[in-house]
């Protein structure tokens, strides 16, 4: 089923979705667009390339409260915080980011290790994928083609959206998406030419070229393992690295976190917050020993984790090539170039 709506009338669609549940959509901020909970349907803005911070926060928020507790003289009271299982609509996610959710599922939603917070949110969420605008130039930092993702891949989305001039075409991909689409009465049925356009866009998406590294993931994994001890190489590529957490915090695939207790005057919260392998104290042990004190060690860990260890353990690269880390890096370190250089060694 293919439906359509004018992009001008996107706020009407947003209003309908807001009635049904929580709507997370791109909003224009000073620096660029970001996903945010929508309170005012006018704020939804689809005129973006990609958001600064990835949409992983919809399932894995920057801070997640687990337990609220009170420490008394004799008894400690604790209360678990439940996840709100209201339906969530994640609107306007680019294909590479949609792919990242399935990679993150390995860690939070796979057999054996199910994170209740992640999986409940994942179940309650309908993902509206959104193809890149094929008429716009590719950002130089992107390289999702190298990871086998193309600009108009509907895979993983519940509903996939394609922009056609001033219209937005919506196609149900999963049964969940189809069902929702049938309920949205602000949409109109698309015509024959729209359907043709939709199919063509999916095909043309393959020709929308980003940077491309035509190499098998196992080759990359082996190569990175082989150069692990090449300190000169790692020192060279990390010489500019400031060791801040910008790259990991904007990454759709970084999932490291820290659990901390914050107690003030006997009342406190246990919560999970994002952490980054680029911080010095990330690996600091209670004994005072720190196995990764140098910047090059931390950068090496980050790249190896994504491109080597993850491949060996789970069979997939933990990167979708969205280019966010490169765009957000204060000193323009480019993970793609580093891998490319490692392969040349």
């Amino acid at each position: 089923m293919l439906k359509k709506t004018a992009i001008e009338k996107i706020s009407q669609l947003a209003a309908v979705l807001m009635e049904k549940g929580t709507l997370l959509a791109p909003v224009k901020e000073v620096a660029g667009h970001n996903f945010a909970e929508i309170n005012d349907p006018q704020k939804v803005d689809l005129n973006f390339y990609n958001t600064i911070i990835s949409p992983k926060g919809a399932f894995f928020p920057p801070k997640e409260d687990f337990i609220k507790y009170k420490i008394g003289k004799t008894i400690t009271e604790a209360e678990q915080i439940k996840v709100d299982s209201k339906p969530v609509f994640l609107f306007g996610v680019r294909p590479c980011d949609v792919k990242s959710f399935s990679i993150m599922d390995i860690h939070f939603n796979a057999a054996g290790i199910i994170d209740p917070y992640w999986s409940q949110r994942r179940k309650a969420t309908t993902i509206f994928g959104y193809a890149y605008d094929l008429n716009q130039p590719v950002d130089a930092a992107d390289f999702y083609n190298s990871l086998g993702i193309y600009a108009a891949d509907p895979e993983g989305s519940d509903i996939f959206m394609v922009k056609k001039d001033k219209d937005l075409l919506l196609k149900g991909i999963t049964p969940k998406g189809e069902e929702l689409l049938a309920q949205l009465n602000t949409l109109v049925d698309a015509g024959k030419d729209d359907e043709k356009y939709y199919e063509e866009t999916l095909k043309k998406g393959k020709e929308y070229k980003t940077r491309f590294l035509c190499i098998d993931q196992d080759v990359i994994a082996k190569k990175l393992e082989a150069v692990f001890n090449n300190n000169d190489f790692w020192t060279k590529v990390s010489s500019a690295c400031l060791s801040c957490g910008a790259c990991t915090f904007v990454c759709p695939n970084c999932y490291c976190f820290d659990i901390c207790d914050d107690t003030i005057f006997g009342k406190g919260t246990r919560r999970r917050v994002w952490d980054a392998c680029m911080f010095t104290d990330f690996t600091l042990e209670a004994s005072g020993h720190n196995p990764r004190t140098q910047v090059y060690q931390r950068l090496r860990q980050k790249i190896n984790h994504k491109y080597s260890y993850h491949v060996k353990k789970y069979g997939v690269i933990s990167c979708v090539g969205c280019g966010r880390c490169t765009r957000s890096c204060p000193v323009n370190i480019d993970i793609y170039s580093i891998v490319e250089e490692a392969l040349k060694l």
Partner: protein, 287 residues
């Protein structure tokens, strides 16, 4: 306008000479990034590395940030623009580095651009100076005859705000913070290890990116940089969520200048204002 190509040539020539003669072991300059618009900070350690050096209008990094990474006594040559040279002076004042171990390659420049916005970087977000304050070799023509604009002009709008509106403005800004610490890592003057925010005992603020901790982190960081901030604007450019940190730093710098009559990073002989005092300081400053 600045002749960027000429500076690049001079930078390469000078770097080659210094490395060949063994006068220095590292040249801190700018190198090629993944494309023209995104050069990277670069440490040339051998003559072969020199080819990688570039200089264009997007090379806005403050290389002084990397000085404290090298062990004391390392002979370093560093490319400095106006604000960068002030950072070097400030670091010398704080005895983190010694002048005799440094060769300053001064770059007078006008018209640097922010690659994110393509806006020209001027006195709105930085100190607005064009010529390095301290240098051993000058790599281009000094810039003169430009209209002098006070770097504090941009503050007027915020100073005129009602205090509640100003509080709301800053609270909204700090609420955006994701605590990636790019600001402190990009800052040439932030070299504490560990940073107060990473301490567990005492624990100054929670680790979660939420209002109280963010405010504590930023206010204290502004305080730690009082009289030391050299207004290079790196913190704001590094910020992935574009918090205008430079505004607060400028305000603190302005107040320090008015109270203590000293501008940060202008002379090696000065002492940072907050580790110094004058008996005749007035009690008026406390009012």
């Amino acid at each position: 306008m600045t002749d960027f190509k000429k500076i690049e040539e001079n930078l390469k020539k000078e770097a080659k000479r210094l490395l060949e003669s063994g006068e220095v072991t590292v040249v801190l300059a700018y190198g090629k990034g993944f494309d023209e618009k995104h050069p990277m900070p670069f440490a040339a350690k051998s003559v072969a590395d020199v080819d990688n050096i570039v200089f264009n209008e997007y090379c806005n990094y403050n290389m002084a940030r990397y000085l404290v990474r090298y062990p004391q006594g390392t002979k370093i040559a560093i490319a400095v623009k106006a604000a960068d040279s002030r950072a070097v002076i400030q670091l010398i004042q704080e005895e983190k580095i010694k002048k005799e171990n440094l060769v300053l390659l001064g770059i007078p420049v006008i018209g640097m651009k922010n690659p994110k916005t393509d806006e020209v970087i001027d006195s709105k977000t930085t100190c607005g100076m064009h010529n390095p304050v301290l240098y051993d070799v000058l790599l281009g023509e000094e810039v003169h005859g430009q209209k002098i604009v006070s770097p504090y002009d941009v503050l007027a709008e915020y100073e005129a705000m009602d205090k509640d509106a100003r509080w709301q403005f800053w609270k909204d800004q700090f609420d955006k913070c994701i605590r990636c610490y790019a600001c402190r890592k990009a800052c040439p003057m932030c070299y504490c290890d560990p940073c107060f925010i990473d301490q567990n005992k005492p624990k100054w603020a929670d680790k979660a990116p939420q209002s109280p901790g963010n405010i504590m982190y930023h206010l204290t960081r502004f305080h730690h940089l009082a009289g030391r901030c050299i207004d290079c604007g790196e913190c704001s450019r590094a910020c992935p969520v574009d918090i205008p940190l430079y505004l607060f730093h400028k305000k603190v710098a302005k107040e320090c200048e008015e109270m203590f009559n000293q501008v940060s990073g202008m002379s090696i002989e000065d002492k940072p204002v907050l580790v110094n005092f004058r008996v005749e300081d007035s009690d008026k400053i406390l009012e």
